[in-house]
Symmetry: C2
Subunit: 178 residues, 2 copies
């Protein structure tokens, strides 16, 4: 049981992550970011934008909402979250959004990490770039009709991909709008 | 960019977590578990079971799906995930389920951790115990009518709680069944 009054102690520190112990509780902190954003982007013709990439922690390709870190580049420490969401959406998918609206926010795994993710809904989408990520990222854009998304995800699993659970949270918000 | 062919190197090791580097990619692994389960439990009268507890990594109370680790106790290494789901549901909420059905599975934060969570839907619920957790856990059970769950979550946020994003994934699966 963790005692809130006990101070956290750094066990190890990498360039991006910090392993921390607070009482008996161990967890990991992200360093040098101001937030994390994920985007529920649905095109005018009802397609959800998903991204697929290899993820070292699980050693598999993973299907996820477009997402990324805010304030992690020198000089961008004060980047507003909505700007980070627009930037990540464009970098990963090549789409620009007319509206970017915050629809929710929450933890990814509150027993393990301090990650806190702000979810945006992007509408009025227009493809104006290539997508596929920056700086060595190798990202495949998937445009999936909402009506058939469950079957599409099931097919991806049979092909050996994993699905990030935030995709289902995204589907909740996508469906709530229709 | 991570190279799948580079071997992971352990940077630090705690009792429960391991900080790993693979090429330039840093991530955290959970030690000594066989899986993670989370439960979308809806009572016969349409209430979703949620749990609320203090989480050291974020320093706040967090509203989450009932959830827990499988195979983390000596002698339980081969605990089936559905048994772990039934055990965690009972420990945290005091409810037993007539049916426990796998509805999905996926990563929590595939860039940061190897966490992979299997989602179960629990139905035919009957309260037969106290709940509130084991071994020093201090868990508050919340039984929230599905019809008003968004307003309830918004109220919790105004009280200073955080919401775990898996709750929204759970709502997707809960609504898909009705």
């Amino acid at each position: 049981m963790a005692n809130p009054s006990q101070p956290p102690v750094t066990m190890a520190e990498g360039k991006y992550l910090q392993l921390v112990k607070q009482g008996k509780w161990e967890y990991v902190r992200r360093k040098g970011i101001s937030g994390i954003v994920a985007i529920v982007a649905v095109t005018d013709d009802g397609k959800l934008l998903l991204v697929e990439q290899y993820r070292p922690p699980v050693g598999r390709r993973v299907v996820e909402l477009p997402a990324g870190l805010a304030g992690d580049e020198p000089g961008s420490e004060n980047e507003p979250l909505s700007a980070a969401a627009a930037r990540e959406l464009f970098e990963e998918t090549g789409y620009e959004a007319r509206e970017m609206t915050q629809v929710g926010a929450g933890t990814a795994s509150a027993g393990l990490t301090d990650e806190f993710i702000t979810l945006f809904r992007a509408t009025g989408l227009k493809k104006t770039g290539a997508g596929a990520g920056v700086g060595g990222e190798q990202i495949t854009l998937q445009e999936v009709p909402l009506a058939g998304v469950e079957q599409w995800l099931a097919q991806k699993v049979t092909e050996g991909c994993l699905i990030d659970l935030k995709v289902y949270g995204g589907l909740y918000f996508a469906n709530a709008q229709r």
